[in-house]
């Protein structure tokens, strides 16, 4: 379904932009992060609502809002098929993309998604559920291997795609300074 594909792609692009902005010179830009999170929220809502309507009603889909304003399909920019996203370097394979955090931020932080100190309830919630593959629009999160290391197979994401998007707390995307 077109809107769904579009939403997924935008979500993927947004997430990689968010990760990229963490290494930006000058620090995280609040304005940019806010705009990214607004786009992600819209895309998530579309994606989620279209998946819901897909389920019980088969092919019927009612996107809440049109994505594009172009009057004729010919004018619309056709996006290429989603390419494999650039792999951000992550420290842990269980990092869920839905809760990007900024552990390098300093003392003025008010909302730090602190991976090390996650409550056990939270952590176990992440691990529960079907051990299915990650949603295909998300960047593949494989830890960078040191030379000589071997990779052992671990499910990349233990949450179902639908759940992972629901629990995506976009408010947390706003970095704390």
């Amino acid at each position: 379904m077109e809107v769904n594909i579009e939403a997924r792609r935008i979500l993927a692009v947004s997430i990689s932009k968010l990760y990229a902005s963490r290494t930006q010179r000058g620090g995280l830009r609040l304005h940019r992060s806010l705009l990214l999170s607004l786009v992600m929220r819209s895309a998530r809502d579309i994606y989620h609502s279209s998946r819901e309507s897909e389920g019980p009603n088969g092919a019927q889909s009612a996107p809440e809002e049109p994505m594009d304003t172009s009057s004729s399909p010919g004018e619309q920019t056709r996006l290429p098929e989603p390419q494999p996203e650039p792999q951000p370097v992550l420290n842990s394979t269980e990092t869920a993309p839905e809760e990007p955090d900024n552990t390098e931020d300093g003392c003025d932080s008010e909302i730090i998604e602190d991976k090390e100190n996650l409550s056990p309830a939270k952590q176990s919630r992440k691990r529960r559920g079907k051990a299915s593959a990650a949603p295909d629009f998300l960047p593949s999160k494989r830890a960078r291997l040191e030379p000589g290391e071997e990779r052992y197979e671990v499910p990349l994401c233990s949450c179902r795609a639908g759940e992972s998007l629901t629990t995506l707390s976009l408010n947390r995307v706003i970095p704390a300074f």
Binding site: E6, A7, I10, V13, K17, R25, G26, G27, R29, L30, H31, R32, L34, L35, L38, V39, S42, A43, I46, E65, P66, M67, D68, T69, S70, E75, Q76, T77, L79, E104, D105, G106, C107, D108, E110, I111, N171, R172, I174, A176, F177
Partner: protein
């Protein structure tokens, strides 16, 4: 005098200035137009001065030559937050001239500096105790006394930092604006606006604070702020949601509640994933008269009457053909570009930049618009610029450019208009172009 853009007027090229080092990040004329300051990504400020008009060149205004160059800001490192602070100059604002020296404020993301630019064309000579090269003379060799005198020397322009206004902004500074009282100025970051006295660097007053108690509730940020040109108690700030708030400093110490809120209802037909991004205001400028203000969002320029909050009185489409390309522009980051806008001296024409090194002018009186290009090909002295056109329909006419062949790396974000004359400064990524109105 200053003329509006009539059909018989044409813009001709005056000067092309190559700025080698870094990306230009701000351009600003001083109040007389004699000086033109640019700031760049490397923290440098370059000031150009207009030549006095030669009697022979009746058709041509004086050229701008480099007057002073100095390093305003250096990269810094905030050890507490492990953050590098960019030296890029975000804004330059001139102070009204009071004496022979010129003063300007320049700011990066965190620190504002007041610079004094002064000329030195004489130096004292004939000291009794010092040689001309500065070495001290043996007092025993001094047999006569003389009075040191000033002798002419080659003109030297010196820039010295007079004040440093630091440590007042947690977030990134996006605007500075000098008050008409010439004693105070404001600085704005994403969430706060501070008021400074030009003489006092260790204190500033916070006059707007939109930081929510819980950052998770953040929905909008401040994108620009400016003082009213005549009313020293009035200023405006724009937001990422496309609203402008006008505040009166006499009402309360903290101007969180606005005196006026300018907002245009969103057109539901134009709703998309990117509606919020493109409605974010990137620049706000009062007209010289103070009756109007202009805002720039991603696709349009809007003129607001300060007496009417419900909607703008004029809206000009800068590059509406990009509306169907927003997804690609999001992917290549162009949708985050912050375009500025400016008024001409008598508020009859407004100007803003676009892509492909195009810039746009809108004549408010004659309701005409023009698209021009700043490029090397146009750089023959006094050659008249040919208006450009982007083809949006199916069939592309000759000399038109199709949307898909626009170069989105060539963007004009910063433009400035001489306050008293029809001379404009247009900054492409690395170069500064100066154009003038061709006098017939």
């Amino acid at each position: 005098g200053v003329h509006g853009l009539k059909t018989q007027h044409s813009i001709s090229f005056l000067q092309f200035l190559l700025l080698t080092a870094d990306i230009i990040s701000t351009v600003e004329f001083n109040q007389s137009g004699e000086l033109l300051a640019t700031g760049d990504k490397g923290g440098r400020v370059v000031i150009f001065q207009q030549e006095q008009e030669s009697k022979n060149k009746l058709q041509c205004r004086g050229e701008y030559n480099v007057y002073s160059t100095f390093q305003s800001h250096e990269p810094e490192f905030d050890y507490l937050k492990s953050l590098e602070i960019e030296e890029k100059i975000n804004k330059i604002r001139w102070l009204p001239q009071k004496n022979a020296a010129h003063f300007l404020l320049s700011t990066n993301d965190k620190t504002i500096k007041l610079w004094k630019i002064s000329e030195r064309d004489k130096r004292p000579e004939g000291y009794n105790l010092k040689e001309e090269d500065g070495r001290y003379r043996d007092p025993n060799t001094v047999t006569t006394l003389r009075v040191p005198v000033f002798r002419p020397m080659d003109l030297m322009v010196e820039a010295s930092p007079r004040r440093v206004f630091a440590n007042a902004h947690t977030y990134h500074i996006n605007s500075i604006s000098v008050n008409s009282d010439c004693e105070t100025y404001l600085s704005a970051d994403d969430l706060r606006v501070n008021l400074w006295h030009l003489e006092i660097t260790d204190r500033s007053f916070n006059i707007v604070d939109i930081k929510p108690a819980n950052m998770e509730d953040l929905t909008e940020v401040i994108t620009a702020a400016e003082f009213h040109p005549n009313q020293c108690n009035t200023f405006v700030y724009s937001s990422s949601k496309g609203t402008i708030r006008l505040c009166d400093m006499r009402a309360a110490a903290l101007c969180d509640s606005h005196a006026k809120l300018f907002e245009e209802p969103e057109d539901p037909n134009n709703r998309s994933f990117f509606s919020e991004i493109i409605s974010s205001i990137s620049d706000v400028k009062f007209s010289h008269s103070g009756r109007y203000m202009m805002t720039r969002d991603y696709l349009s320029v809007k003129i607001w009457d300060l007496n009417m909050e419900s909607r703008p009185v004029e809206t000009y489409q800068v590059h509406e053909y990009l509306r169907s390309k927003l997804c690609s522009l999001y992917e290549n980051d162009c949708i985050f570009d912050k375009f500025e806008c400016c008024w001409n001296g008598n508020d009859s024409v407004v100007m803003t930049g676009s892509y492909n090194n195009f810039f746009r002018m809108f004549d408010r009186g004659y309701q005409q618009d023009m698209t021009l290009e700043a490029s090397r090909e146009n750089s023959k002295l006094r050659s008249v610029l040919k208006p450009r056109k982007v083809s949006t329909g199916g069939k592309r006419k000759k000399d038109e450019i199709s949307v898909d062949s626009l170069d989105f790396n060539k963007k004009i974000l910063h433009t400035a208009w001489h306050p008293l004359d029809n001379i404009i400064a247009v900054a492409t990524t690395n170069n500064l172009y100066i154009f003038q109105d061709k006098l017939n």
